[in-house]
């Protein structure tokens, strides 16, 4: 029987899962991804985390608990930095320790540092450390790493061609009954792509006839260039991407509205949300909806607000069309 490594379906899973899965498979290790989020899974996470932690962290703990009794290792990389002189968020830096000290009876945790903060650092160092858990043969690790790199590149290209990082249930793939309304959804990947905590927001928008655009549909170069307009370089990679994407979509003619999704208690969202809102007020006439999700969010409230927002976007558009024919 081969060794089983558990990967929680949370946090940066959405960006890196093809790479991680490929890497482990090439090493001959079986991967187990935690189940999709459910109420019960989230509840477990809530009970084992301090109250003040943000929703994504609580959810991630829930996913770890889901894996606890079924795997030999849990893969919780300490993702310090994914770009030079940038971080993700302090909680990512301490996440493996938060889990280790709050949950009992855990299988061994693989918590190698993924750190590209310094000049000359490479993701290969990280994968070497991880690989050493399973094999002593460096050639095998190099081959697995190269294969995983190709998987990541493919994943990134897929995302840029408007695929979502995970399969949505009954996804009416984008264009179907789309009547030309484009809505940008800006938020952390682990919030907007999780069907449970985002309450199927992407699917709901698509069902109501909108084409959904996210920050991940833009190539990195575009986002970074837009984010350059900030008075100071933003040192959180994902938030830089969000702000850059928001600026880009505000400036685009064919985008009709923007939804900013924040999770309650998220420290970085409080700042980027503020910057995006200020840009929406003074630099743009596009409607913007700011949604905050937490563990108490009710589905009805969310649906009502989305419907109202979509109505507003449609009316604005009709008005603009009417004005153009005058």
């Amino acid at each position: 029987m081969s060794i089983k490594v558990g990967i929680p379906r949370a946090l940066l899973y959405y960006y890196y899962h093809p790479q991680w899965v490929t890497f482990f498979r090439r090493l001959g290790v079986e991967t187990v991804v935690s189940r999709e989020t459910t109420r019960g899974l989230l509840d477990k996470g809530l009970k084992s985390t301090v109250d003040e932690a943000c929703l994504p962290v609580k959810l991630a703990v829930g996913h770890v608990l889901d894996l606890r009794d079924r795997v030999d290792y849990i893969f919780l990389p300490r993702i310090v930095s994914t770009a030079r002189k940038e971080y993700i968020c302090p909680k990512f830096l301490g996440f493996p320790d938060m889990v280790r000290h709050t949950i009992n009876n855990l299988p061994p945790i693989i918590d190698c540092n993924f750190n590209l903060y310094h000049k000359g650092s490479s993701p290969a160092d990280f994968y070497f450390q991880v690989g050493k858990f399973f094999t002593r043969n460096p050639a095998k690790i190099i081959m697995a790493y190269n294969a995983s790199k190709a998987a990541l590149e493919k994943h990134n290209l897929d995302m840029q061609s408007e695929c979502l990082p995970v399969r949505q249930e009954h996804a009416a793939d984008g264009v179907g009954n789309c009547n030309g309304i484009n809505i940008a959804v800006i938020g952390h990947p682990y919030v907007i792509y999780d069907n449970y905590i985002s309450m199927n927001m992407v699917k709901r928008l698509r069902d109501s006839g909108a084409r959904v655009l996210t920050a991940d549909h833009l190539p990195e170069s575009v986002v970074r260039e837009e984010a350059f307009r900030l008075p100071k370089k933003m040192f959180w990679t994902i938030n830089q991407r969000m702000v850059g994407a928001a600026y880009h979509y505000f400036g685009r003619e064919d985008v009709h509205g923007l939804i900013h999704v924040a999770s309650f208690g998220c420290g970085t969202d409080s700042f980027t949300g503020e910057l995006i809102e200020r840009c929406a007020r003074c630099g743009s006439h596009k409607p913007m909806l700011s949604l905050t999700v937490d563990e108490h969010t009710g589905e009805a409230g969310m649906v009502t607000r989305l419907e109202a927002f979509m109505d507003m976007v449609r009316w604005r558009r009709n008005l603009a069309d009417a004005a153009a024919t005058l």
Binding site: V80, K85, I88, G94, F95, D97, H101, T102, F235, S270
Partner: protein, 365 residues
């Protein structure tokens, strides 16, 4: 140019001394109050941490007093403080305040950026004078810290209630009055003499509590609702894990001044529980708790503003430290909703618990 900067406890003494020595006109905002907080809460982002809201209020109040330049420290993450100045400036700008913003932070590209900013604030004074000014600032910070540490000792032991507070006020006034680095040693002596003049009962039994957590909430009495004074009145000797002079020495002077308190041992201790720095003072919080346990303190209180990211990481780890080392730890989270009564009740309960524990331990020993 009329320069202002936000409040953080007694930090204003040190910066005012430094800037006035260099001939810069300084506007000190009124001490943080409910009004400051209201201004900040009204205009700041809802989930931003409390220091940002208080800073914002400070700047608005200072603008009414005629300040036109803001000096702020910055940073390069991952704590939100690194982006404070930019967000605050954007908010003030939209509200119609026309502030010139100078952020002192590690330069992004070249050291010349930082040097240019220092020259701008000091209006091209000679570097010799600037260095002397910085020295004065450090000496003042260090003197304030020494005086405060004396107050920690005498507060729970004073024979006449309130005498420590009076002495502290006088001692601080002496430190504030000193104008040059040469006057500082004499001023420190005089201030310590006043502090030592407080009549104390050396044999009174006291419990000792270490205060750990986020630097702003630890240093700013308005933010922590004067926790040091409250605990002192309950007969508790406190010790704070972070002092301003120590922070300056560690972060700005890179440990140039030897034989002073430093956060280094705390960081080293913390690594056994938290494998990486998490920004802010998260690692120091964990490490200081271990140090306090080893030094035989009776308990530890962690202070943090609501939604503080690094401290939440520390908060999740502290229960494990507490049970491993057998030291009671309480976490107090403050924000604009914090009420005084709730705080006092919790402090009293915690102190009662520590007293009881101490009695049992000493009774059986």
């Amino acid at each position: 140019m009329r320069v202002t900067y936000p409040h953080m406890g007694h930090m204003w003494i040190c910066i005012k001394g430094m800037l006035e020595y260099l001939g810069v006109e300084v506007v000190i905002p009124p001490p943080s109050s409910k009004k400051t907080m209201q201004l900040g809460v009204k205009h700041g982002p809802e989930f931003a941490c409390m220091p940002l809201k208080l800073n914002l209020g400070n700047f608005m109040e200072a603008a009414q007093m005629g300040a036109d330049t803001v000096v702020m420290a910055g940073g390069c993450g991952p704590c939100r403080f690194g982006y404070y100045a930019q967000v605050e400036h954007a908010i003030l700008n939209d509200l119609g305040y026309r502030y010139q913003l100078v952020v002192l932070e590690p330069p992004e590209k070249h050291i010349a950026e930082l040097i240019g900013k220092i020259r701008y604030i000091t209006q091209n004074r000679s570097w010799f004078k600037v260095i002397k000014g910085i020295r004065l600032g450090y000496l003042k910070a260090s003197a304030v810290d020494h005086v405060e540490q004396r107050a920690y000792y005498s507060r729970p032991r004073e024979l006449r209630p309130g005498e420590t507070e009076r002495a502290l006020k006088q001692a601080l006034a002496i430190i504030i009055a000193a104008k040059t680095p040469e006057e500082m040693p004499a001023a420190l002596d005089a201030a310590l003499k006043i502090m030592n003049g407080v009549a104390v009962d050396q044999h009174r039994p006291v419990v000792r509590i270490g205060l750990v957590g986020e630097i702003f909430t630890l240093l700013e009495p308005f933010a922590n609702q004067e926790i040091e004074r409250k605990l002192g009145k309950m007969g508790v000797e406190v010790d704070r894990s972070i002092h301003l002079s120590e922070w300056i020495n560690d972060h700005l002077f890179m440990g140039l001044v030897k034989n002073e308190r430093s956060s280094k041992p705390a960081k080293e201790k913390g690594l056994s529980y938290l494998g990486h720095t998490v920004g802010g003072h998260g690692l120091e919080t964990v490490g200081s708790t271990i140090l306090y346990a080893e030094q035989g303190f009776d308990g530890v209180i962690q202070l943090l503003p609501f939604t503080c990211m690094p401290e939440i990481v520390a908060q999740s780890i502290l229960p494990q430290v507490s049970s491993d080392l057998g030291i009671p730890v309480m976490t107090l989270i403050v924000d604009e909703q914090s009420g005084e009564a709730g705080m006092v009740t919790r402090l009293e309960a915690f102190v009662d618990l520590l007293n009881r524990k101490k009695e049992i331990r000493e009774g059986t020993a």
